[in-house]
Amino acid sequence: MEKKFGVYICNGCSIGESINIEKLIKSSARAAKIQPDAVRVHDILCSPAGIEMIKNDISQGMNTLILGACSPRVKFEEFDFPGALTERVNLREFVVWTQDPNTDAAQSTAEDYMKMGIIKAQKGELPEPNILPDLSKTIVVVGGGISGLTAALDAAEAGYEVVLIEKEPQLGGWAAKLYKEVPREFPYEKLIEPIVINKIKEVEAHPNIRVYKSSTIEKTDGQPGLFDVTIRTNGTSETIKAGVFIMTAGWQPYDASKLVHLGYGMPDVITNVQMEEIAKSGKITRPSDGKEAKKVAFIQCAGSRDPEHLPYCSSFCCATSLKQAKYVRELNSEAVAMIFYKDIRTPGQTEIFYKNMQNDPGVLLTKADVTKISDIGNGNMFVEAENTLLGEKIKVEADLVVLAVGIVPATRASQEYLDGLTEVTTKGDDAKNAYLESTPKPEFILNLGYRQGPEIPSLEGAYGFADSNFICFQYETRRTGIYAAGCVRQPMTMSEAASDAAGAALKAIQCVEHVSKGIAVHPRAWDATFPDPMMIRCTSCKRCTEECPFGAIDEDEKGTPFYRINRCRRCGTCMGACPERIVSFKDFSVDLVGSMIRGIEVSEDEFRIVVLACENDSYPALDSAAIKRIKINSSVRIIPVRCLGATNLVWVSDAFSKGIDGLILLGCKYGENYQCHFVKGSELANYRFSKVKETLDKLQLESDRCQLMQVAINEYDKLPQMINDFVERIEEIGPNPFKDL
């Protein structure tokens, strides 16, 4: 496309009163290489008349627009010109609302921003989506418990082909082993028949669902839309094409043999899972002698909420024990149930079920720490406990003890193994080989042929539960097109797991649909650009493959990286990582941002500070500070980037060789509770920065001239001060010595 530039300047929102527009026209025209009289000025550019003017120009062939007006965060409906490359220059927020009007400083700030916008428009291109051929929209669901069945049915009902893979010879998972379920709805009085039985029937009868039982995944290669999944069933393998995964591998009950202190191993001490089997027989009997149990004790948090065992709450056990107490009472009205708990956790309306159970005089609830289960000798046991509400130790006789054991995610074994492997890898090959020899390899679930490992990563300190890290975006995992749901993500009840699975099914559908349009998935779900490396210059240094947070880049046999573009989330981390600077997007590249930096006017008697701001949090925070009219030092020039992970070190030299005096990288908080939606953007930028600091020191260029600041979006009131303080420090250090070269 041959670019025809249109430069527009809005006079409204005090822009015209704060800046010398005539001068701004001249400098912008020069930058855009157009005649000054071709620059259009409008009193209110966002008004219907202003928009009409722009649309009229577009109809005359104008295709590249630079709009000097307000922030791109506002007036997005008005300034929407499909088919035209549109660059919004934030004169209002970043100049008029933050600088003293009609000063040289405000003028040069405005001129720089216009020039940078023009450079961006000159260097950028309209995106053309990269749609790979032969895409599959088949959804693979891994695990046929309540989550998997729900996900499969929901996706199938929405019109998609589903392949459901279940390890066991039958579907249903733990849900199918239940006698009855906790009521799901007001008035929470009656236990309900297991919902899963009908789901199994529906799944098996559904024309859109293919079920593989007794099956595991031997290998997964490819990328969203183009996965090759090798399924192993009873010794034979079959490879299918698939588009996306839903990971619902579920959980295992915590190993009760580790709960000897709670009496496990004694014949009549059982788990809550065993209790379901017993109840299914229609009578609560004791394993030791088959006699009907009349005094049943339930020990809550058997393993859960215990630093020695599971340092989390397993969420469903309180309601489950209340339900099982109801079994005891319904199957024999003379039997009593006693529940020993730390806290009863029946959140939400489930509380009403708890209240109903409290009203049954045959159900006794006691807050207590169980210290011992002892054999009385008459075939019964004593439950001994302390820290009761009465403050005293108690000893209660029971003829059956049920341990409310918690859950362990199915992902935990592989995660522990892989975490161990990562750790020893840093210690060298010998340690690694010793580990591989001595540690039994667990059965992996997805067996991804990814450079970054065979499973979806789990979070640090999450005890093997699968990603996601985000409260607002529950399905934002680090493996594009693989959505986890149910108890692999966190402990949940059956109804929560079902709702989670439905959500994962929706995300899976979005993924295959977006891939088929060549656009990204969350969080840049509209983005049709993609990284396009100039491979001829690649040195196979592999920094991109190592740093890509989403495992989007693999290496061929020769070790040359190549993109699996449908795994890419378009953050630009690879672009920032590449020392050869060969990765570019149509509207975002090393050269584009570098040219913007180099386009900033630098003079000997003024300081210039460049702020590279993450567009997700930092840019809105800067905007908000401007809305609050907090002044910002006039030497500052802000350039938004997709993510700080995209920061290429060449920008540092671009800045300093040009004579910029200081550089701020403004990004999200990192660490355990990271807020970066591209996982490690600011952390990686900081890492790269630390490397460059040594070089700067060597060049006698004070490394204090660059600083990374972590800022949350709600800290905008402090942000200008943080930046202004930095500028002051730079002023103390003095001008960039390269300025006059």
Binding site: C70, A158, Q349, G503, Y716
Partner: protein
């Protein structure tokens, strides 16, 4: 009749925004109707989320950016659904758009606010400060367009704002408007209100200056709140050093709310960190019945429990009184673990007030069954209508997100069935 939307989402809080976006990003047109002038609902008033202690505006900003970039979402703020008639595949819906008195030409410059002579209690900050009759709730509000409080505005007789606005954006004679649309399915995401603590006689809510609600505490701790984020007590703006949280203020109580409100334990533990972070010498006591931090939230509880300045006391608060001289708050409680009654003085008390579904007071126009507490009974809903989030039962934000995403697939199934 405007163009046919496929899915209607009622409620523009985090659940509703999520349901709308997830549906739209799957390729289906959506209409999103929000009662108040801005999107975001309750979470816009929160300082941080538990357990990550990250700001809600971060996720909202990303969602607003998604809205800006995706065609196919029509947003109606200041609007209510007045009528729903029909069945899955074809619901005729009437949306009443209440007058904002500010049109799309608003540029958000604040000139109107500066000249407005009418000061009103700021509802967004629970009356802890004032705003003008023409206002915007906060600096990251969306849409970023002012609104006039019609009840308090003096109208055309004043019109100072009209004079000040250079953009012809204010129309004091704006009338309500009815928009009729037809949709295949409907998602109910009408959210929740805070329980009115003044109904709880013994806890002093609404009567004692320094007894506040958990939602007020969020505003006090928010950098964009009435005290710019400093936790100062309302009576004398003194920095709070010694605070008590009273759990289940209304919740789990037959006389008030018989259910558990799900979020309050985690919210109070989180709010304890707000104060502890601001003031290293401050002390916190949390009175509770059962501490409910399900799943991985347990870890957050452990972290805060490790702080020696935060004490968890199992026991019910019997009575809260005010020291008339110092305005301190005297809390009488029963410490169950110690088996004795206690009486203690605090600078300020936070009542962990519960959630009331908004459908308790304003019903959705349609054939929908509610529990006696006002929650939508999901099994009563016909195919084509789906309820998400706290309209069904109290939940936290992450579960609302799951639920809303799940409802999006149900709504798509409805569209598909009605093809």
């Amino acid at each position: 009749m405007i163009d046919n939307k496929k899915v209607l989402v009622i409620g523009g809080g985090f659940s509703g925004i999520t349901a709308a976006l997830e549906t739209a990003e799957a390729g289906f047109d959506v209409a999103l109707v929000e009662k108040t002038p801005f999107l975001g609902g309750r979470v816009t008033q929160l300082n941080k989320y538990f357990p990550k202690l990250c700001p809600p505006n971060c996720g909202l900003e990303i969602n607003f950016k998604r809205i800006k970039n995706i065609a196919g979402i029509s947003i109606f703020t200041n609007a209510e659904v007045e009528k729903i008639l029909g069945h899955e595949g074809s619901y005729d819906v009437a949306i009443k758009i209440n007058p904002r008195f500010v049109n799309d030409r608003c540029v958000g410059c604040n000139a109107c606010n500066e000249v407005c002579p009418v000061e009103i209690p700021n509802e967004f900050n629970f009356g802890m400060d004032k705003t003008k009759a023409i206002y915007i709730t906060h600096h990251q509000a969306f849409p970023f367009k002012y609104v006039i409080d019609g009840k308090n505005c003096k109208g055309p007789s004043c019109a100072k704002c009209v004079e000040a606005c250079k953009y012809n954006a204010i129309d004091l004679n704006m009338k309500h408007e009815i928009v009729n649309i037809n949709v295949s399915s409907i998602i109910l995401a009408t959210g929740w209100d805070l329980y009115d603590v003044s109904k709880i006689d013994n806890l002093g809510g609404g009567k004692i200056d320094n007894v506040i609600t958990n939602m007020m505490m969020e505003r006090l701790a928010s950098p964009d709140g009435p005290t710019s984020g400093k936790i100062l007590r309302p009576s004398d703006n003194k920095p709070v050093q010694n605070i008590a949280f009273v759990q289940c203020a209304g919740s789990r109580d037959e006389n008030h709310l018989p259910y558990c409100s799900y979020i309050c334990c985690m919210a109070s533990i989180k709010q304890a960190t707000y104060l502890r972070e601001q003031s290293p010498d401050s002390t916190v006591r949390i009175f509770y019945i059962d501490l409910r931090t399900p799943g991985r939230y347990e870890q957050f509880y452990w972290t805060v429990k490790d702080d020696p300045k935060v004490t968890f006391t199992k026991g019910k608060v019997a009575h809260i009184a005010e020291d008339p001289e110092t305005k301190d708050v005297i809390v009488e409680a029963e410490d169950i673990s110690l088996g004795k009654k206690t009486k203690e003085r605090f600078d300020m008390v936070v009542l962990a007030a519960g959630m009331v579904p908004s459908t308790k007071t304003s019903k959705i126009p349609g054939d929908i069954t509610y529990t006696s507490d006002g929650f939508v009974l999901p099994s009563s809903l016909e195919k084509g209508i789906y309820a998400v989030g706290s309209v069904k039962s109290p939940v936290d934000v992450s579960r609302s997100v799951q639920d809303a995403t799940g409802a999006a697939i149900k709504s798509i199934q409805s569209v598909r069935r009605s093809k």
